[in-house]
């Protein structure tokens, strides 16, 4: 079953107004080529659902494509507060559903199981259930009488996820950070996968243990080399902190619109051409291939 499409065909799978789950976490493995394509196509009015979001969600907000955001964190980490997220919330132009990070996983898990909710024990005296009351409820265990927290199922209309390799049928392999991408793929109504490389099914069968998203969950497969850039995609490339710092600086210097407009106006090939110089590619791949681990004597 050939599910391969071009990046330019992403809009056949994501419509304005959709709820959209975006894979990756922190500065790793976000489907950035797809994020850029959404900006190119101007697919807006989105309800974005992230797990641990960063530049992916910040850019979509910056491009004016996000109506509503379900999240536990949006951060550029060492590189500062996420500028567009921060501004949109402070200006009151973004509907936010702030949910604790483990609860988001629980909500996706509920969606994957065709359940309207799943319980968890509790999250202490957090105020999040107070400000996001639609996501949390109390429930009593019918066996023990214990009071537990119920988390409402999260079922995105569509999920986009970046992986290392996939075959044309959508069997996806990952060898680095995968966040809650498998849970997201199970929960979503449709799943679009971008990958560093499309391979034959025989390649998948050679190491089935790394297949974290089986093909029956996937609707479309897009080949997008450096598709997580500037976030990492281990074992292919390390974190392009230089690019993220440049983004943070541009936003701090009032050049956010220019920066976003540039991304929206060029093709993905042109983006790679512009941003990934030979030296940059050498640096990012070298970082990924030369891990600095420390010898210990334990087991």
């Amino acid at each position: 079953m050939n599910k391969v499409i071009a990046l330019e065909e992403l809009s056949s799978f994501v419509a304005p107004g959709d709820s959209l789950g975006i894979g990756g976490a922190w500065m790793a493995s976000h489907p950035m080529a797809a994020v850029r394509q959404l900006m190119r196509d101007g697919i807006g009015d989105l309800h974005v659902i992230g797990s641990l979001s960063s530049i992916d969600v910040d850019q979509l907000i910056g491009a004016g494509l996000v109506r509503e955001l379900t999240f536990s964190m949006v951060s550029l980490e060492a590189y500062g507060l996420a500028p567009h997220f921060r501004k949109a919330v402070q200006d009151g132009t973004l509907i936010i559903n702030e949910i604790s990070g483990v609860a988001i996983n629980v909500g996706l898990d509920a969606g994957a199981r065709n359940l309207p909710y799943l319980p968890m024990r509790d999250i202490g005296a957090s105020q999040l259930p107070e400000v996001t009351p639609d996501a949390f409820a109390e429930i009593t265990c019918p066996f023990t009488g214990e009071r537990l927290l119920a988390i409402r199922a999260i079922v995105p209309d569509v999920a986009i996820i970046h992986v290392l390799r996939a075959d044309a049928a959508g069997n996806c392999q990952v060898e680095g950070p995968m966040a809650c991408d498998p849970e997201l793929a199970r929960a979503a109504g449709r799943v679009v996968v971008t990958c560093e490389e499309i391979v034959e099914t025989e390649v998948i069968a050679r190491n089935p243990a790394t297949t974290h998203i089986p093909g029956f969950l996937v609707d479309a497969v897009i080949e997008a080399p450096f598709g997580a850039h500037p976030t990492t995609h281990i074992p292919r490339y390390g974190f392009d902190a230089w690019a993220v710092m440049e983004y943070a600086d541009a936003c701090a210097d009032g050049l956010a619109d220019t920066h976003i407009a540039q991304l929206a106006s060029e093709s993905e090939a042109a983006y790679r051409e512009r941003v990934l110089s030979a030296d940059k590619r050498a640096v990012l791949t070298t970082i990924a291939r030369n891990p600095k681990t420390l010898e210990t004597q334990g087991t």
């Binding site: 976490a25 797990s51 999240f71 536990s72 964190m73 949006v74 951060s75 980490e77 060492a78 507060l81 996420a82 921060r86 402070q90 009151g92 702030e98 604790s100 990070g101 483990v102 996983n105 629980v106 996706l108 968890m120 024990r121 999250i123 202490g124 005296a125 957090s126 105020q127 999040l128 400000v131 214990e146 060898e175 680095g176 950070p177 966040a179 809650c180 991408d181 498998p182 849970e183 790394t210 974290h212 281990i234 390390g238 974190f239 902190a241 710092m245 050498a282 640096v283 990012l284 791949t285 070298t286 970082i287 030369n290 891990p291 600095k292 681990t293 420390l294 210990t296 004597q297 334990g298």
Partner: protein, 288 residues
């Protein structure tokens, strides 16, 4: 031993909480916490089970800005997505040590990672707490650290309760099916501890050379002050050597102790070094 920086003392204090009795999960990139976990693994807790991203049983890694993900995965013993990890470790009573460095904490133990000002109309919107509400509630040993100890961070009342470990009494926690364990606040001045909702934070130890008055004056909430307060242990020469030579040769742990502009300068310098070293390695490999 006196040749150490305050952040190194704090790293060693955090490291002392890590052992092999549970699983410690690395959260957002927080150099101080990362350094502490690596130090534990290189000294007294070589069998400590660490998780970074989805790498279960990750090795000890050198701290840097661009290569930590790759190192974490190199030598990992298993891969789990967040689902099984959060269910089994975070919620499954196997979480051992958690370090969190929020914008604010108050005397109840509530912390804030959401906003300065009103939640619905914030002056500053911050990133949000990620998994910290659950982690703070479910792990055994909670360490809240700050690069500075003042009344802007240790406040009377947080602007928003992103999370709060509750209840704190061991018996109440065990009854609810939760792990027991105190909250500790680790700062450049002292270590504070709280294990009872009805009582204030107690000064557990003072860092060397710090006077109790300095702690009280810089804390925005009430403190219990025991008559005899010990001193936070100083780093050993071996610890300092490991930190400087192997774990954190580029001194990333300073990060939390700098103001915004110095942070930016530091990041630029660190990144320049990482670029140069990576490019050199890449050329060597081509040459080889």
């Amino acid at each position: 031993m006196s040749d150490y920086r305050i952040e190194e003392l704090m790293v060693c204090r955090i490291a002392s909480e890590v052992d092999d009795s549970g699983v410690t999960v690395l959260g957002s990139f927080t150099p101080l916490a990362y350094a502490a976990y690596m130090l534990a693994k290189l000294t007294h807790a070589q069998d400590a089970y660490l998780v970074g991203f989805n790498a279960i049983g990750m090795p000890a890694v050198e701290l840097n800005l661009t290569g930590v993900e790759a190192a974490i995965y190199s030598g990992a013993l298993a891969y789990w997505s967040f689902g099984p990890t959060t269910q089994t470790v975070h919620l499954g009573k196997r979480g051992l040590v958690e370090c969190v460095s929020p914008a604010q904490i108050d005397g109840s133990g509530a912390f804030n990672l959401a906003c300065i000002g009103d939640y619905n109309n914030p002056k500053v919107r911050m990133p949000g707490g990620a998994g910290s509400p659950e982690v703070m509630q479910h792990y055994e040993r909670i360490l809240v650290y700050f690069g500075r100890h003042d009344k802007r961070t240790l406040v009377d009342k947080v602007d928003f309760r992103t999370g709060q470990r509750y209840p704190l009494e061991a018996s109440a926690r065990l009854e609810r099916g939760l792990l027991a364990g105190a909250i500790r606040v680790i700062t450049p001045l002292a270590v504070l501890v709280k294990d009872d909702d009805a009582k204030p934070f107690r000064i557990e130890t003072l860092n060397p050379g710090v006077d109790v008055t300095e702690v009280i004056e810089n804390t925005g909430f009430e403190l219990e002050v025991p008559t005899n307060i010990g001193t936070t242990a100083e780093p050993t020469p071996e610890q300092i050597k490991l930190l400087r030579d192997r774990i954190d040769p580029y001194a990333t742990i300073k990060f939390d102790f700098l103001d915004a502009q110095s942070r930016k300068d530091m990041l630029r310098d660190l990144l320049q070094g990482e670029w140069d070293r990576a490019l050199a390695t890449s050329r060597e490999n081509v040459g080889a």
